[in-house]
Symmetry: C2
Subunit: 420 residues, 2 copies
């Protein structure tokens, strides 16, 4: 209920809106910007010249117009000059990327991560090392305007601390602060939940561009969720919104790492599939406590993580009945979880990412059949089920968007601060 | 990504913001408005004089200031002059109210509704009749600026049609259109889901003022939900968001009117409680189909609806073991449903309304115990569980807010249209 914006607010808003067009949509002519933004030509010209002077965009003659008359200048993001660092800390990998304004991944480094306790020193050291390597390869006139990390865990909104991350062995870890210190760029490192950031990535650049109500389900060891309602990411009161993996779908079912039983994650996660396929020993009746010390599921051939999941889906494809039954079972619980979310959210799209991409492709019939039984007709009538378009890059792309967010909110202030 | 607002947009925004302060917060001095809205005194004066000229507010000297100097004028809503009609169509009652700007219920009419099929003619006729009666009692200078109805069912966002309402016997009913025609005021009637509108009411004027992330659970025959995330009502793609009653909490459990089994509504709704308490016969194994034709649960003493639920809670209070066990059972499923929602939404507050108010008060220990087991620690750490403050008025108050929404969005346009 605050008052309306001042002239200065409006200019900032317009600069951000124009830069966002260029960042998300790519090169665009002044004439198109005029039409899309509902501003007159002279205002567009003033805005682009401010952004050009700040080194955020450049204007060029179009290659070929095929039309008579003076062509409208094309505004392009300064992709090779202005960039952010994006990081991803998953149960099985550490990744870092240098991402240019406009969203292109310009450079990247990645290493496997051994599952186990969260070693803050080692993790932050590795990622900062990746960033240094990539930075040494940049030209002198490039400028880093932000940094952000996606982590497989719950991140407290107030300060970016990883409050829980059982699949990373993390609890109350001030990860962003430490990584920022190691980077030594004088920039804060924003931290977000990986599924939330993957949802933002699919919404900005993936399968869900233009979709205002979506649920992104991310599977690895656990099941995470990123939910966008009415165009906004569901953060919740403290920032832990979207933890759909701990929705109980099967009371009294499989023990879960959270201490409960029958959570979506316990019935649908990697271990549930490998157990159902007889590829790892079942969790004993010692229940959650016994399971908690034994997170690493390695199948008979020594595969773990995504490789082990793919092996089950491949086996089912080749007619392996045990693998088919396992997928059917897991797909049924996945379908029930999705049906619940469809009733609660009435989304336009549900996206399966991480290892759920493979699981969904191997069990789509079960998922759809459960939806037909358990989701209400009007809610599912216009629902689209999709797999992630950005696949394993979704979390990095989402982290890059988080890092760019403050630049888009106030382009000039940020550039003045970074270069000044 | 549209451009920033024009001067005219800003004036409209400021007028709406000022009127909203007065409407929700009650009488307020110009000095306080200046401070709260971050505008200068002359702008506030111009805005209040526009709203005064439009007959939406009036300015008065404060009764007593106790301070030296010229007192700041107090701005009051024209509560007795400017009003809306609010309607509520529940399984057991039809209600209509005349609600003044500022939110006071000035007049009301109510009648019991017999459960059964939705008779559009009869319902719209009864409610329009109530409105006519109330209108005849108003002074000549009063003006009705809007009308809205809360209904126990799913309302399609695009056109306000009640697409499903099993507990009303409604399917694809153009209720708002018909009621608008019967009212004959030349005003459209907005229609919303009752739990959604009750959530808005608690958020605006009830137990959740200032709470940006909340879940309101409404119980009558069924269980409905109204969810506010980040200050916005969760509508979903088509407007059916918040149907938490059909989240499956007990796969293979009690048959539900929706055709599925073990939905929150089937385990926690009125019938589940009365069955568990042995006060109505259990749903047979004919399942959902058999149940569907038999929605009216009447207990041995001939009570139905809220009265029958209250009788169980009272009996438990008096030490009736069967009633206590029934509440324990129902409270356990309610707690599991709440825990799931807490994991998914990380809300600041969960509000129990309708008959869930009684059920929660009678089973709070079970609900809290389930939360402790099934909701993740950080998600529930700062969670508050509350009962509805507006009680049975929540849906009417919410409908009134829906009816006022367009006035607050553009005060002058609306008044010009209505009086012009």
């Amino acid at each position: 209920m605050r008052a309306g914006p001042s002239q200065e607010d409006i200019r900032r808003h317009n600069l951000g809106a124009l830069l966002r067009h260029v960042h998300l949509g790519g090169p665009i002519s002044r004439a198109e910007l005029t039409a899309k933004m509902g501003l007159n030509r002279s205002t567009i010209m003033a805005l682009t010249s401010d952004l050009t002077a700040a080194g955020l965009v450049r204007e060029e003659l179009p290659r070929e117009t095929g039309r008579a008359g003076r062509p409208s200048l094309v505004v392009r993001p300064e992709s090779s000059r202005v960039y952010v660092f994006a990081f991803d800390v998953g149960p099985d990998r550490l990744a870092a990327a240098r991402v240019g304004l406009g969203g292109a991944i310009l450079d990247r480094r990645e290493t496997a991560r051994r599952r186990g306790p969260f070693d803050l020193d080692e993790l932050a050291g590795t990622l900062a090392g990746f960033a240094r390597q990539m930075r040494r390869k940049t030209r002198a006139d490039t400028v880093c305007v932000g940094a952000a990390a996606a982590v497989s865990g719950g991140v407290r909104k107030a300060d970016g601390v990883i409050m829980f991350g059982p699949n990373l062995g993390a609890e109350a870890v001030p990860f962003g602060e430490e990584l920022g210190r190691r980077l030594g760029l004088g920039l804060p490192v924003s931290v977000g939940n990986d599924a939330n950031l993957a949802a933002l990535a699919e919404h900005s650049r993936g399968v869900a561009v233009g979709v205002r109500d979506l649920i992104y389900l991310h599977g690895d060891v656990g099941i995470g969720g990123g939910i966008i309602t009415g165009g906004h990411l569901l953060g919740g009161h403290d920032g832990y919104g979207g933890e759909v993996g701990h929705m109980v779908v099967n009371p009294g079912g499989q023990p879960c790492g959270c201490g409960s039983r029958g959570c979506l994650e316990a019935e649908v996660g990697e271990r549930a599939l490998l157990e159902a396929a007889g590829r790892v020993a079942a969790r004993g009746d010692g229940g959650a406590a016994a399971f908690d010390g034994d997170r690493v599921a390695v199948d008979g051939a020594g595969r773990q993580g995504r490789d082990a999941v793919r092996a089950v889906v491949d086996a089912a494809d080749r007619g392996d009945i045990v693998a088919q039954e396992a997928l059917k079972r897991v797909g049924g619980w996945l379908g029930l979880g999705v049906a619940n979310l469809v009733n609660i959210f009435n989304p336009e799209m549900v996206i399966f990412g991480g290892m759920l991409r493979e699981v969904y492709l191997g069990s789509a019939a079960q998922v759809r059949s459960r939806l037909a039984t358990n989701a209400m007709g009007p809610q599912r009538e216009r629902l689209r089920l999709r797999t992630s378009a950005l696949a394993d890059d979704a979390t990095l792309v989402g982290a890059a968007e988080l890092a760019f967010a403050h630049v888009l909110a106030d382009p000039l202030e940020v550039l003045a601060r970074v270069t000044g």
